[in-house]
Amino acid sequence: MIDWLRQSFHRTRSVFRRAQLDHELHAELAAHLELAIQENLERGMPADEARRQALIRFGGMEQVKEQHREARGLPILDVLFQDLRYAVRGLVKSPGFTTAAVLTLALGIAMNATMFSMVSAFLLRRPPGREPNRVAVVTSINPASGFLADTNPVSAPNYLAWRGANDDFADMAAADESRTVSLTSQGQPEALASAAVSPNYFAVLGVSAQLGRTFSDGEDQPGRDHVVILSHELWERRFGCDASLIGRTIRLSRENYTVLGVMPASFRLLGFTPQLWTPLVLTAADQTAAARRDRSLLLFARLKSRVTLEHARAELVTLAGRAGENFPETEKGWGAAVRTLPDFLVYNFSIRNGLAVMMTTVGFVLMIACANVAGLLLARSAGRRKELAVRIALGAGRLRIVRQLLTEGLVIASLGGSMGLLLAYWGIHFVGANLTFNAAISAVPLSLDWNVLLFTLGVSLACAVLCGLAPALKGSETDVNTSLKDEGRAASTGRSRSRVRTVLVTGEIALALFLLIGTGLLFRNIFLIEHQNLGFRADHLFTASVSLDNTKYKDPLQQTLFARDLISRLQQIPGAEAAAVASDLPATGPGTVTLEIKGRPELPANQRLSALDVLVSLDYFRTAGIPLLRGRTFTETDNATAPRVVVVNQEFVHRHLQDQEPLGKQIRLDVSGSTPQWNEIVGVVGNVKTYSAGTSDDPEVYEPFLERPAASFSLMVRATSDPNSLSSALRDTVAQLDAELPLARVMSMPALIEQQNGGDPFFVRVLGSFAILALILAAIGIYGLVAYSVGQRTHEIGIRMALGAKSPDVLRMILWDGMKMTAIGAAVGLVLALPLPKLFDAMFYGLHLREPRLYFIVPVAILVVATLATYIPARRATRVDPISALRQD
């Protein structure tokens, strides 16, 4: 075995040391002859006889050298080099063909590599830390189904109970990933995304600080909890990578925090972008029954060795069931989900389906490109039939011919792949530069990494086979007799060859149609979203968001006072027409709440009614321009002491009250952190889209902000002119009230909506351009095929015209051939595309695509393009001069 390995190694090496080894062999053989001649001379032979005898005994010099080469090297590799040289020579001789084929493949491969860089960045990158696959993420399952209902955070009492009762985990940590703090150390106060984590969080994940240390036990106790760990990004941006910051204090939300450490830049969990970490402090209040409604913690737990994920999952389901029995009021129907850390991050980020659509699209475009190149190669091999026949007649094996033609495909694919990689390098930068609409996405750098390189290599090889196989197999079938006899006098080309090309082109048409309908559906969706009536007037609105900290605004009364004060000052800004505050701005996807309607039987937990829940100040509806349809909106008297009232939207009346009289009806909302009370419906307003990036209207409940204020809220001012002119006045107003309070997302409403709709329009546009490219490639394919067959049939056409066929007849004949292929391809593509709307609905939450017109428009468009592509060569056919056509060849 070792000997064999050693020999293989030497053999391979020899292939690359050919010149030197040949030189040595030459010297050795010369020495051999000299010795033989000398011995013969010593035996008394004359000089020329001595030489003759020596040569006879030696045997054929060239055979010996060849034997030596075969014994020492790899004959297969030599043949490959020969094939390669031959292929390259052939390609250099026809630069037009080579350029077209290489460019087509390069484009296809570049698109695939670029899109794959996103797969690599988002799906394949390992989360940081030790053995991330042994870290389980525990979440709650919300019985009210919705988007990602099974990654709902967990409440503090459940965290404490599950941590204590569980045998499967070596350690369990909790993190509230969605906190906001204000940093007022240097410069303008800034609102930062932060996470509150239990002290063992970093240990459970298996990561350590780049500088300083992470939290230690007990730092979640009140009094010791004013410590903070910074992200690398924040440390760099706000503190200029100052290493002496460790141990110093910075000011966060009006309090002093000691900086313990800085995490490395590589510590990043996909989808989470906290800029700093503080200890999660759980007090007695977090263990009460009311705290069960406050679900804000993600649980990270390291599995004990030899404990499987399934086992841990089963145990947590049992624990969640127990909580449901013990606290039916709050826990009924809620389950627990357990995933590994990598799984959870990818699932929670929910980008997988979008990437699948992207990859399918670029994959199809590449298949079309390959079909085109295969078509080109076929056309070329048809021209080389005679050459192949001669080679077969001279004794070349079929396998050798197949290998030769495959090598040609390989050379084209490698050239295409290398060029594609260059293009992809640029493409990745382009996509990366456009992926800035969302902090979580732009936090993930795209790069041409090893995964992308390997993928490109694989794709290029696949292309080589796809492009080379059909021509290779056809080529090896060459029948020596007919090919050599065939003097081009045959009436038309061989049936089987044109059948392969017909299949290729039909397939291209089908794929292109499928892609166009798919992206057409998505395009239509984006168009609808961008041009829909959101239900309020977004123009002239200027917005910002505020988070009141616990230090200064712990009491709801203080929050109410601040909000009241803020609104009255905002209204006095010159150029402001109206101002309001609300827990959520219109069409920004507010939270949902489950509810009960008085006089109706109570429903099981997983079937309870739910509605969007927004807290709004008095002038909210007027400021946003949401029309009041029935009853009244809130007044100054709807305060904390007054009877509780709510306003609902039209959809609420329609869906939950079955269009019955809504005014005066009582509803009860399951609001977290307080005992549910009955509220009277006093008004009905128009529907506002739930989320500007979707088209759905959902039942919505508005509560008066002054009755139940929120610590985090947004403010909104309607301007009489350009809303952006209010920016500085708005900042000043807030600073006058509280200089240490940061404002976040300070921008006009249209800008906010654009940011919210973010990536989708970009991606759909990219997809659309891919689909158009697919159509162009398919058109080139059909053009190439028809042009080629017209070229082949010149003789036949000449005969037809000599026998009296008129130009229009010929034109019709050729066009009909093209149409037939297009029609078959379009029919196949149409059938394939039928289930697309349903598929998209299932893949993307909240999408409902129905656009039957597309199934008519796209095939017609394809027919038109294909007709044009056929018409040009068909025209040429009609200009055939019968005399010259018949003389040809």
Partner: protein
């Protein structure tokens, strides 16, 4: 004349080369070829040149080593030497050949049974 000589079976030349080097020590290609001719009493059909394919094969397997040196007539020539691993291989192969040839001898010496067909 060619018919009267023994055609070499695949692999036998390698064994002859190994055996020659084992008994003679360091030798160049011509020396090995001559030695085999002499020992076989000119009974094997051997184009001297054939030996070089065998030499490179043995060398790549690590059974012999080679070195440029000076021949008796003061010319540069490549000298071959058997290695330790080569000796081991030789003893294995020689044993194998001896077993095979004794079996072949016995089989061929089998008395003919009367009345074929």
């Amino acid at each position: 004349m060619a018919e009267s000589k023994l055609d070499l079976l695949q692999g036998t030349l390698d064994l002859m080369v190994l055996q020659t080097l084992a008994t003679m020590g360091s030798l160049h290609g011509y020396g090995i070829a001559r030695r085999i001719e002499q020992v076989s009493g000119d009974k094997v059909l051997l184009n001297q040149g054939t030996i070089y394919a065998s030499l490179v094969r043995l060398q790549q397997r690590g059974w012999i080593s080679a070195e440029w040196g000076t021949s008796s007539n003061n010319r540069k020539a490549k000298f071959y030497c058997i290695t330790k691993r080569g000796r081991k291989q030789l003893s294995e192969d020689a044993a194998h050949w001896q077993r095979l040839s004794s079996v072949m001898g016995r089989v061929l010496a089998m008395p003919e049974e009367g009345g074929h067909q």
